[in-house]
Every structure is written in C-alpha cells, then in structure tokens.
C-alpha cells in the first residue's frame, strides 16, 4: 500500500492513474457506441429493432450491398477530396493568418479574436448563410464577382454537379480556419523570442528562420491540428444538410452524410453502419500516421 502511494507520488503509478481516468471515461462513453455501430454493420437492422440486440446476423451482406452500389465509388472519392482539400487549405490559410497576426501592428490581437466567430455561429446559421452567399441567382458571391467583372454568367455553386462539392469545401474551409489559426498562434507564441534573435545574429533570413526554427518547433502543434482537422472534417455534416443534401445526384455526397441518409432517412440502418465502419477505417489510417509522426517531436 505504501509502495503504491509512493509510486503515485513519484513514479509510474502517477502516470497510470492520469491516463486510466481519461481513457476509462472514453471507453465507457465512446467505445460502446462505436462497437454498437460495428455490430450493426453485420446485422439486418430495422428501425424498430434498433435498440435490441436480438437481430439476425447477415454476415457480410451489408458490406456487399454498399460496395455494389453504383454511387459508392464516387462518394468515396468525394470524401477523400473533401477531407484532403479542406484540411490542406485550412492549415495553409490558418498558418498564414497566424503568422500574419504575429506581426507587430496596432490591434493585431483584437482582430485575431474576431475569427472565433466562425467557431461559435450555430451550424444551422452557418449553413443558411452560406446557402445564400452561394445561391446561383440571388447569391452575394455571384453578385460581387459580376460587379468586379470576373464572371459574366452566374455560377450555380450548389446545383452544378461539377462545382457543388467544391462549394461545400469552401464553406468548410471558412469554418476550420479559426481553429487552425488560434491553435497555431498559441504554438507560435510558445517559441521563445531569443531563438529567433540568435538566428538573426547568425544572419539567417526570415524564410530560412521559418524553415529552420518555426516549422520544427511547431511540429507537435501541426501534428495535432492536422489530425484533428481530418477528424473534424469527417464529422462535418450540417453543411451538407444545409447546402446540397449531398446532391445534385450525389455529386457532393460524402461518407458521413451518406451514412446518416441511409440510417436515418432511408432507415437502412445496417447499410449506414457499414458506411460508418468504412469511416472508422479511414480514421484508423489517419490516426496511425499521426501517432507515427509524434515519434519525431521530442527534440523541442
């Protein structure tokens, strides 16, 4: 007993308790729903047997059904595009803004705070506003582009199958920028000033400083922001509901929205679960890469 309290004070016991508390909580409240989804993907689930475990197993039938649907491949690639482009653009814009607002000018820190607006507007509002900004006829974006002479004909941002997905991506980038920017700002602020001063004295230019100091010292932050960005983007759901409903004709549909459509609109719950299992697979890959990347972050 004394030994245990000692390790708790000074050794591995302390660490274990901290980790187990959080992990235990997650297992109780999050792992169960995940397992439930996994289970349902192998069963024939009706809306009315959703809550009982006594459901017929159908092996891989649901998987076969989903994979044989003609729209599956398109929706998969849409998902990849949606996640890849959103995360990349959010990161670049967010990082650029974080660096910019790091510069010394009046009101820089105040203005930076205003970006949080994107984080607190309710999803319903964000979706509605973007649907009006992007509307083909009365949309503000087309109106402005016409005014400054960039376009002659209206672009139907949301109903042109070639454009719809990218329109949702634009709105999603807007949503993700504050998160990236605020966190990267914190990371930037955490880099001691004297490191830069030393580098300046050694004659390193700004660009060189960015690559030799800023990037390496931000590795942990970047890893966190990217992996969370992927996960957030995979959870983005309201924008699809508000802007395109995954349409026209699945042109902008992605796994997370499709899974919901199958499970909660068509009541093909087994199929919806299959799609969510596919998403879990997707995230396993991302989490794996993230965990691997953390191997190299100790140097700071």
């Amino acid at each position: 007993m004394l030994k245990f309290t000692n390790t708790f004070r000074d050794g591995i016991g302390f660490d274990t308790v901290l980790v187990v508390m959080a992990l235990g909580y997650l297992v109780v409240f999050s792992a169960y729903p995940l397992a439930y989804n996994l289970l349902m993907s192998f069963q024939s689930v009706d809306l009315f047997t959703l809550t009982s475990f006594d459901r017929p197993f159908v092996g891989l039938d649901n998987y076969r059904e989903v994979l044989s649907r003609p729209e599956t491949a398109m929706i998969f690639w849409n998902t990849v595009k949606f996640v890849g482009l959103s995360v990349l653009a959010q990161l670049c814009v967010g990082f650029a803004l974080a660096l910019f607002f790091q510069l010394d000018f009046p009101a820089a820190t105040w203005l930076r705070g205003l970006f949080l607006a994107g984080w607190i507007m309710p999803a319903l509002v964000v979706g509605a506003v973007w649907s009006w900004v992007l509307a083909g006829d009365f949309g503000v974006l087309n109106h402005m582009l016409r005014q400054i002479g960039v376009i002659r004909e209206n672009i139907f941002w949301l109903s042109d199958p070639d454009v719809a997905l990218y329109s949702v991506i634009i709105a999603n980038i807007w949503l993700g920028v504050p998160f990236n920017m605020i966190l990267l700002s914190v990371g930037l602020a955490g880099i001691p000033k004297d490191v830069y001063e030393a580098a300046s004295m050694d004659g390193a230019g700004r660009v060189q400083q960015f690559f030799t100091i800023t990037l390496p010292m931000m590795r942990a932050q970047l890893g966190a922001v990217i992996s969370l960005g992927v996960i957030f983007t995979l959870q983005q759901f309201d924008l699809f509901a508000a802007l395109t409903q995954g349409g026209p004709s699945n042109a902008s549909n992605v796994f997370q929205y499709w899974s919901w459509q199958l499970a909660f609109q068509n009541y093909e719950i087994g199929l919806g679960s299959v799609v969510s299992v596919l998403m879990i697979g997707f995230v396993i890959a991302v989490a794996f890469i993230y965990v691997r990347s953390t191997r190299y972050e100790q140097e700071s």
């Binding site: 660490d15 959080a22 409240f29 910019f100 319903l124 605020i182 966190l183 955490g190 759901f237 965990v291």
Partner: protein
Amino acid sequence: MLRKYGLLAIALGIVALYLFPLYWMYVTALKSGTEIFANPPTLWPHDPQIRIVEVWNRLRMDVYLRNSFLIAGGVTVIVAALGTGCAYVLARIRNRWMDAVLFAVLMMQVLPSSLMITPIFVAFNQMGLLDTPRLAVVLAQAAKVLPLYIVLVRASFLQVPRELEEAALVDGNSRIGAFISIIVPLARNGIMVSSVLIFLQSFGEYVYSRSLISERALQPATVGLQSFMGPNSSDWAGVMTYSAIYITPILIVFVLLQRKIVSGLTSGALK
C-alpha cells in the same frame, strides 16, 4: 510606422472578408423573409426590422441560454479535470503503450454525433441517466470533446522544457507537486485556449441535447433555435435574430479573453 498601418489595413481587409458571413447573419436578421431572396441581393435592408425583444420574450431565451451555459460549463470542467493529466503523461512518456493510448483516444472521436446518438440513448436509458437529461448531455458531450482537448493540450505540454520539470523534482517536489505548481502553469495558454474552444463547441452542441432532453425548460439554445423551422417553412430572420442575440456577447467576451490568453501570458512565462 507606415508599415504598421499598412499591415493594419491589410488585416482589416482580411477580417472584413472573413467576417462577411457574420455580417450577412446580422443583415438577414433585419430583413423581411422575402428580401432575403431579392435579386440582386441588398447589402443593407430597405426597411430594417429589429425583432430582438420579440424573439427574446417569445422563446424565453433566458431559460435556453442558462441551460447552454450549464451544459457548456459542465463539459469544460469535466474535460479539463480528466484531460489535462492524461495529456501531460502522453506528452512526457514515449513508448508503445502510450502510442496505443494516443491512437485509442483519436479513434474515439471518429463518428459524428448523429451516428453515435442511438446507442448512447439506449445505454443512458438503461442507466437511468435520462432522468437527469442535462447531466446526460454533459457526460456524452464531454466524451465527444475529450479527445480533442487531450490532443491539443498535449501539444502545449510538449513545448514546456523538460529541464524545468527536472529542476523542480530535484528541488524536492513530488510529481504531483511539480505537475500542479510548475508544469500546468507553464502550459496554461494551451490549456486555456483549448478550454475556450471546448466551451464554445459545447455551447453549440445540438444533436445530443435534442435527443436526450425532452423537457423544454431544460433544453439549450441550439435546440430552441429549431422552433423557427417548421415542416414546410422557416423563419430565417427569426433564426438570425436569435443567433445574433447570443453570439454577439459571447464573441465580445472571447475576443477580449483570447487576447490575454494567446499573447499576454506567454512571453513572460518562458523567460
């Protein structure tokens, strides 16, 4: 000097561009239901109608907002209490086990709430948690955002120099003592920013609240917002007014707060 104001001008331009959707929310709140669809769009309403008082009173927003604060506050407390220590350990110790833990933590956040809610509802119902629906939402939402918090705060702990901690232990501090009095204060920026993000995220929580809380008097503001949406109709100006009412003060508070958190504390702390 000139350079400073040049930068300010650019910054104002960027902010104006970014905040356009926010502006559009405010303008739409003042428009009639039809002017929203006017072509060409009107950048300022012809006949602004302010419905703040009507919306506030009709929907009894004070009740909704109080619930939102309770839920978001509860989530933030639970998450900070459980997540900070875990994030610290994950930042300090590197081995296969910790890799596995980090991996597991990320995995827990995969699915959107809308796909998690059914099993959660069933489980909570069996546990009797639905009798205290706000607590149920707090517990579920805390599980939802805990991984986010852990990953973010972990990154902040990594920036705390290890030598400081070792020095504290040499000075005769226990692990707990060093953790609470040295390490957490040094990472407080990251902790506070992450907590703010968690708070705001939970303030906007909708899916769990609408499924787990059936009593109107216990629902948060996001659920109340839905009463503008009928099966065939939507009172868009009402939606925008309602959200403007609660976004504006929160935004102001957090603009002030983030300024302190992000820039104010760091420079001194690490010197």
